[in-house]
Symmetry: C2
Subunit: 320 residues, 2 copies
C-alpha cells in the first residue's frame, strides 16, 4: 500500500524552526520537491535563513543531481501543503496539545499512503497519535541537531502504528540519505538522547560540585572520547581495546569497575544474560574481523577526523 | 626547580602494554629521546609492535622535525631507565600494590626535578604516592585510548603533590602536543571517563532491558552526537542550539526535562548557582562570538569530519 520508497519525489515539512527548516534543507539537497508548511507566512524569512545557512554545508557535503532550493514551496495552508505529499516530516512545537490537534488534521488531510514522521524528542507517538483518525502511518522520526548534517534518524511507532509504516520509514530514510535506527521499544529519549542525557546530567553534577567547569567538560569531550566515537561506537571501542578477548575480557576484567563511583549513574547488574548480549552483539558487529584490523581501521579514521578538524581550523585561523 | 618544559629532550615511559607503548610512540613522534622501561626484555617485541602500529598513524598526523623510532631505547633496568629522565610517564598495571611499590622505587631513583605522570584511569594519586619519598612531583596524567591519537591528558595531583608539579605537567604536555586538562579536584574517573561511563552505564541498562542492541548503541553514537561532539562539546552544543538566549534559554526551557526519565541518571537540582555556573561558563567559552558565527563554525567543522570519514571509507572500500 505504501509507495516504493525510491519513487518518492514530493516531501512536505512542517515547522519553520531550526529542526523544520533543517529538514526542508536536507530533503531539497537530496533532490526532492519540498513543500514547507509554516504556521504563518510571516515565518517565511526565518525559514529561508535556516535553509540558506544549511545549504552552504549541504553543498559542501555534495548535492544530489537536480537538487535545488528552487524546488521549495512555502505555504501556510495545511491542506495544500499535504494534499500531494508522499512523506511528511513534522517539526511543530514540542507541546502535546499542539501535536495532537495537528495530527487530528493531518489524519484527515494527508493521503492515506503517506507516512508521517515526527521530529519530537520528548513526546511519545502513542500520545501524539491519540486524536488521529489514521494513526497507523504515524511514526517518530527523530533527528539529531543539526538535522541537515547528522545522519541519525531514530524511528519507532506508537501503539496504533503499523509495522509496515515503520519499515517503510526506515527504507525511505535510507534512500533519502539518512542513517535510520529502528528502535526496539517506544522509550522516553529514544536511544541517542538517552546516551547524551546521561553524559549531560553527569556533566551537570560535576559543574554543580565544582569538579569541572563547562569549559572543562567540553575540552574533555572534544579531545577525549568524541573523535573516536565519531568512527567507532562505545561498544566496539571497548571490544577492540581489549584485544583478543574483546568485550568478554572487558566485562570480566572491568566488570567490578561498574560498581565504582566513576559516575553517579548506577550500572545494571552484570548478569550472564547481559554479558552474553554485549559479547554476542559485539561479535556480530565485528563480523569476523580481527581486532588488529579493526584497531587499524579505527586509527586510520581517527587520523582522518583529527586532520580534517585541524585543516579546517587552520584555514579559518581559529583554534575553535 | 623544574626545568623549562620546552627544554625537555628525554622522556622515560614505563609499561609495555597498549597505553605504555602508545605513550612511547607519541613522545618519539614529537621528537623526544625515549627510554622505555619494560618489566622484562621478553616484552620488547610486543612493545615494538604497538609502537610500529602507532607510527603509521603518527606519520599521517605529521611527525616533529627529527622524530625517529631510532631514538628509542628499551631497558628492563629501572635505575638506568630513569636516571637521566626529564619526564616519566608511568603506565604500569592497574593494581595499587604494584603502583605503590613502583613509586617507592621511582621516588628514590628518578631525579628530584623530574615530574612523574601516571596513566592510571582508576586509582587516585593520593593512594599511589603513599610509599613514595618524593611525592611532591607525582601527578595523574591520564590519556584516552589510543593515547597516541586522542589529545586529552587529564592532570591532577594527590594530597602530597605540589602545585608547581601540576602546573609543570600541564605546560609540558602542551609543548609535547597534547591537550592538558587540569582538574579542579581528585575525583574517581576524572572528567572524561566519568562522562563516558555515564553514557556507558545507560547503554548497559538499555541492552539489559532489550531497548537497544550493542549495534544500535554504536550506530546512534556514530551518527548522532559524536560527529558534533568532536568539534563542539555538549555545553556549547546546547548553548549554540538555543540561539540568542544560549545556555540560559536551554536551562529555563529544558530545565523541566531534567526531571524526565530520559536516562536512569537523576539530574542534580537546577539551583540558581548551577544555572549561573553553566551560563557564565558558556559565555566565557563563547568569548563574545555570536551564536550564528558559532553555528556556522560548528557546521563547517562537522562537514569536514563527515567528509573525512566518508573519504577514508571510500578508499578502504568499507562502510565501517
Amino acid at each position: 500500500m505504501y509507495p516504493d520508497p525510491a519513487s518518492v519525489r514530493r516531501v512536505t515539512t512542517i515547522g519553520a524552526g531550526p529542526i523544520g527548516g533543517g529538514w526542508a534543507a536536507h530533503f531539497l539537497a537530496r533532490g526532492y520537491d519540498v513543500t514547507a508548511y509554516v504556521h504563518a507566512m510571516t515565518e517565511r524569512p526565518a525559514l529561508m535563513d535556516i535553509i540558506e545557512t544549511a545549504w552552504v554545508s549541504l553543498t559542501a557535503l555534495g548535492l544530489a543531481p537536480g537538487a535545488s532550493m528552487e524546488r521549495l514551496t512555502v505555504t501556510d495552508d495545511l491542506a495544500t501543503a499535504v494534499s500531494a505529499a508522499e512523506f511528511i516530516q513534522e517539526s511543530a512545537p514540542e507541546r502535546l496539545d499542539i501535536k495532537q490537534a495537528l495530527y487530528e488534521r493531518l489524519g484527515r488531510l494527508a493521503p492515506r499512503a503517506c507516512v508521517i514522521g515526527s521530529s519530537t524528542s520528548g513526546l511519545m507517538m502513542t500520545e501524539i497519535q491519540a486524536l488521529c483518525s489514521t494513526p497507523e502511518r504515524t511514526v517518530i522520526a527523530h533527528p539529531f541537531n543539526p538535522p541537515y548534517l547528522l545522519p541519525l534518524v531514530e524511528i519507532v511507532g506508537g501503539k496504533k502504528t503499523e509495522k509496515a509504516a515503520v519499515d517503510w520509514a526506515a527504507a525511505f530514510f535510507k534512500v533519502a540519505g539518512k542513517e535510520p535506527l529502528v528502535m526496539k521499544k517506544e522509550i522516553p529519549g529514544f536511544v541517542a538522547t538517552r546516551l547524551q542525557e546521561a553524559l549531560w546530567r553527569e556533566a551537570l553534577h560535576m559543574v554543580a560540585n565544582g569538579e569541572a567547569t563547562p569549559e572543562d567538560i567540553d575540552i574533555a569531550l572534544m579531545n577525549g572520547p568524541a573523535p573516536r566515537m565519531a568512527v567507532q561506537g562505545q561498544c566496539m571501542a571497548f571490544h577492540v581495546a581489549c584485544g583478543e578477548g574483546g568485550m568478554a575480557t572487558n566485562l570480566d576484567q572491568f566488570g567490578p569497575a561498574l560498581k565504582w563511583p566513576w559516575t553517579r549513574l548506577e550500572a545494571p547488574e552484570l548478569t550472564q544474560e547481559l554479558r552474553d548480549r554485549m559479547v554476542d552483539g559485539c561479535n556480530e558487529i565485528a563480523a569476523g574481523r580481527h581486532f588488529i584490523e579493526m584497531a587499524s581501521t579505527r586509527d586510520h579514521e581517527i587520523v582522518a577526523v583529527l586532520n580534517a578538524i585541524r585543516a579546517v581550523r587552520r584555514v579559518r585561523g581559529s583554534d575553535g
